[in-house]
Symmetry: C2
Subunit: 461 residues, 2 copies
C-alpha cells in the first residue's frame, strides 16, 4: 500500500483525488503544464486539515497547499510524491458584520465572491487585484497580497484582524481576533501572513471591512520626466491625501505597446516618456474644490502638467484602467518574464535606465515594459528577450541576472508583492542578509521540524 | 568579582551605572519606587548591544531592557540581580527623508523629539500618545503603541517599515527596509513588534511618515444612549471616511468627573450619558460641504444629535482635548486602577453595565470612569474601589477579577494597546488559547534559549 492509499484509508472524508484526476488540472494560472501529485486532499473542516497534517508530520509525508493557484512565483508546483492539500471545499463565508466592519470566512473563499457578498451588505473589502476571480483569501493571506488599493488601505497584512491556522505538526492555532486593537500577547497571526504557507495552513480569516466608496474619479496624465512624476505624486499625496486610491505609473514603452492599432484606445497621445493613472474618491461638494479635477487644474495652472484627461463616464473609467490592467499585447512575443520589485522612489528612474543598459547588452533586440504602483515603491517589469541564440534556461538566467544584480546596486527588494516561491529563492540573498535567512530557517525548523509543508518554498532548509 | 564587575571589565565602553546610581531613578512613570538592578549598561551602538547580549546569553545573566519607562503594565521592573540595558545613549535621528516619506532613527529617540524634527521637514509622524515627551521609539515598537491617531494611520506595527534588532543570543538582525511593500521572505520585524522586548532588543527603526495635515476641526457632542454613539460613529466613518482622525467616547461619569468646579471647563452641559470628541481634517473648500461642521449639521437636522459644539479657536481645541486627555482628577482618590481592554463595538455598552454590577458588589462605594478610542474597539477604564476593608493586594485582585471575568464573557481582549507586561500575565489566558500561549513559549525558547531577556514579561516560560 503506498502512502496515498494509507492516507485515504485513514482519512476517508477528505474527498481525495488520485494522480490521474490531479493530472487534469493545470499547474497554475501561469504554468499550463499538467499538475503532478500523489493524491489531492479536499478537507471540509479545520479538524480534517489538522488530522492530515498530524499524519503527514509523523510519517514525513510532504504536503503542498493549494488555494486558487494564481501564484506568479512557482508557489504551487508539486512533485509526484507530494500530497496536495486544497482548501477548495472550505469556501464558506461564515459571517459579514457591517457594524463591527468584519467578515469571517473560510480560507478557500474566492476573493471576488467575498468582494461581492461584502458589497451586498453595503460595505467594501479593500483588497483587490487582477486575479480576483480565482485567487482565494487564504492564498491572499499566505502571500500578503498587495494589489491596487494598497495606497489607502495597506496590504493584506493590514486587513487581517484574526486567523486560524493549522501547524505542520497538526495543532490548531485559533487567533480569530475581531478587534482593530489587540496587544494581548504575541501577534501570532504574523507567522502565517506572507510566509507563503511554509509555517502553517491558514484555514479561517477575520478580514477588516471599510465603508463603501460612493464614486471615484479617474484621470490619465502624461509627463515628460520622472522628476515630474515624483513631483506629481508628492503634490497628490499632500492635496488629495487619503482620498487618493491609486497612483499607477506607466513608462512610455508600456503605454505605447498596449495602445494603438489593435490595442486599447489611447486616452492621451502616445509617445510621452511617462503616463500616470490617478484614482481618487469623488468629492461631492458643490464646487469640487477638493477633487481630483481641481487638483489637476491647479497642476495645469502651475505648469507642472501639460496633457491629461479625466474619465467622463463609467465606460471611460473602465477604458483608462484597461490600459493599466490588460497587458495581453505585451505577452505576444514569448518568452516574456514578469518581475515584481520594490525600490526607493528616488532610485526608480536610474534603476530602469541601468536595467535597460544591462538587458540591452545581453539581448540587443530585447524590450522592457514597465508599470507599477508608484507610491507603494512597487514596479512590475516585463522583459521580452527576443533572442534565438541561447537556450530558454540560459535566457532566463541572463534576464534574472540583469534585473536582480542591477536591483541590488539600487537597494531594491526582489519581491514587492508576489513573494519568493520557488522562482526567486536563488535571489533572496539580494534583499536579505545571511543572519535574516538563518532566522527564517530557524523559525521554519521550529514550526515544521519534519520539513513537510511547502518544502523548498522561499528558501531551502 | 560579581557578575556586574565582570561585565563592566569585559565591556568598559558601556557607560555603566552601579546599583546606587540606579537607585536614584524612579522605576517607571507609574511606579515611584526606587529602581533596582545590579548594574545599568548604556551602550552607544548596536555592536555594543550585541556584545552585551552575547556575554549575557553565554553566562545566563538576565537583562531587562529600558526605553522611556512609561509602561502601564509593569514592563520595566528589574530585580536586584538583573542587568538593565538602557537605550538612552542610542538616541540619534539618523535621517529624515520627505521624498521617500521615512525617518531612520536609533531606538532611544524620544517620540516627541522625532515628531518635532519630522514637522520641521514639513512631514507628519502619525504616532501620538500621552507619554510622547518621555517614551521612546524603541519602546513604541516593542509594545506596538496605539494612541490617538490609530483610526486613520494604524498602530505602530503599521508605521514600522524596517528595523534592526539584536537577538538574545547576540546576532544582529538588520531588516532596515525602506519601502512600503516588501514580500521578499519572512517579515522578520514582526517578531520584535509588540513582543515587549522578549525576543530581541530593537536598536534602529525605519518609520513611515505622512504629509502634514494643514488644520483640524474638533467637535464635542453629547448623546443620550450608546446606540446613538454607535450610529454616529457609523455615519461619521461613512461620511468623513479617512478625513476622520479621532472618535473618542467618554462615559458621562468620566466627563462629569473631569469637568466642573476645579476641573476643566465643560464644553457642553454636564449630565449626559455619553460625550464624543471628534477630530477631522479641515475641509478648505469654500462651502465646507465635506467638513465635520456640515456632517454635524446634517446630524442635527436628522435629529440624531441634540447637543454639540465645534471648537472655534486653537485654544478651544486644546480645551476640548484636555477633557479627554487630562484625567488627573480621576486619580485623586487612590488606589485607582487603569485598564485597557478591547471589545466588539456592539458589546461595549453591555460590558460596562455588567462591570458596574460586578464591581459594585465588591465595592459599594466604588466608581468606574470610562473613556476610549471607540472606532478602534478600545476602552480605558479607571476603577476607584474606595474600600477600607481589604488589603491593597486583595482590593486589586477583586478589581482585576471583575474587569477580566466580565470581559471574558463579552469576548474582549485584556490589552488593546498597553500590552501584558507583568501586570496582566495572569489574565492572558482570558484572551488567548492554551495552544496560542504554547506557541508563544516555543518562539521565546527558540530565540532566547537561556531565557535571559525580559524574563517573565508577557508569560512565564
Amino acid at each position: 500500500m503506498n502512502s496515498a492509499q494509507r492516507f485515504a484509508e485513514a482519512l476517508p472524508d477528505l474527498a481525495w483525488l488520485d494522480s490521474d484526476e490531479i493530472g487534469l488540472r493545470q499547474t497554475s494560472y501561469w504554468d499550463a503544464s499538467s499538475l503532478k501529485g500523489q493524491a489531492l486532499a479536499r478537507p471540509a473542516s479545520t479538524e480534517q486539515v489538522s488530522d492530515l497534517m498530524r499524519m503527514a508530520s509523523s510519517s514525513g509525508q510532504t504536503i503542498v497547499t493549494h488555494g486558487g493557484r494564481t501564484t506568479c512565483v512557482d508557489g504551487v508546483q508539486a512533485r509526484s510524491d507530494d500530497i496536495i492539500l486544497s482548501l477548495e471545499r472550505m469556501n464558506r463565508i461564515l459571517e459579514i458584520d457591517p457594524v463591527e466592519g468584519i467578515a469571517v470566512v473560510e480560507a478557500g473563499v474566492v476573493l471576488q465572491t467575498l468582494q461581492e457578498a461584502v458589497a451586498d451588505e453595503g460595505m467594501f473589502l479593500p483588497l483587490d487585484l487582477g486575479a480576483r476571480g480565482t485567487c482565494t483569501i487564504g492564498g491572499n493571506v499566505a502571500t500578503n497580497a498587495g494589489g491596487v488599493n494598497v495606497l489607502r488601505y495597506g496590504m493584506m497584512r493590514n486587513l487581517v484582524l484574526g486567523l486560524e491556522a493549522v501547524l505542520p505538526t497538526g495543532e490548531v492555532i485559533s487567533s480569530m481576533n475581531r478587534m482593530l486593537k489587540n496587544n494581548s500577547g504575541y501577534d501570532l497571526k504574523q507567522l502565517f501572513i506572507g510566509t507563503e504557507g511554509t509555517l502553517g495552513v491558514v484555514t479561517k480569516v477575520v478580514v477588516r471591512l471599510e465603508p463603501s466608496i460612493a464614486s471615484r474619479d479617474v484621470a490619465m496624465v502624461a509627463l515628460g520626466s520622472f522628476d515630474a512624476v515624483l513631483k506629481l505624486q508628492s503634490d497628490a499625496k499632500r492635496v488629495l491625501a487619503a482620498d487618493m486610491l491609486s497612483f499607477e505609473v506607466m513608462w512610455g514603452a508600456y503605454y505605447d505597446a498596449v495602445t494603438g492599432d489593435g490595442g486599447h484606445r489611447a486616452p492621451l497621445a502616445r509617445g510621452a516618456p511617462f503616463y500616470v493613472l490617478i484614482e481618487a474618491v469623488t468629492d461631492d461638494s458643490s464646487d469640487n474644490s477638493n477633487s481630483l479635477v481641481s487638483f489637476l487644474e491647479s497642476c495645469f495652472e502651475a505648469g507642472t502638467l501639460s496633457d491629461g484627461a479625466v474619465a467622463a463616464s463609467e465606460r471611460e473609467r473602465a477604458e483608462f484602467w484597461k490600459v493599466r490592467d490588460d497587458f495581453e499585447r505585451i505577452l505576444a512575443d514569448p518568452p516574456v518574464y514578469l518581475y515584481d520589485v520594490s525600490l526607493p522612489l528616488r532610485s526608480m528612474d536610474a534603476y530602469i535606465r541601468d536595467l535597460e543598459d544591462a538587458f540591452g547588452k545581453d539581448f540587443p533586440q530585447g524590450v522592457l515594459h514597465v508599470f507599477g504602483h508608484l507610491c507603494d515603491g512597487n514596479l512590475h517589469l516585463f522583459l521580452t528577450p527576443r533572442s534565438a541564440s541561447e537556450s530558454t534556461h540560459e535566457i532566463r538566467r541572463l534576464a534574472d541576472e540583469s534585473v536582480y544584480q542591477t536591483l541590488a546596486r539600487h537597494h531594491g527588494a526582489v519581491s514587492a508583492e508576489h513573494g519568493i516561491g520557488r522562482e526567486k529563492k536563488d535571489w533572496l540573498h539580494i534583499s536579505r542578509s545571511s543572519e535574516e535567512i538563518a532566522l527564517m530557517r530557524k523559525l521554519k525548523r521550529t514550526l515544521d521540524p519534519a520539513n513537510i509543508l511547502n518544502r523548498g518554498l522561499v528558501f531551502d532548509v
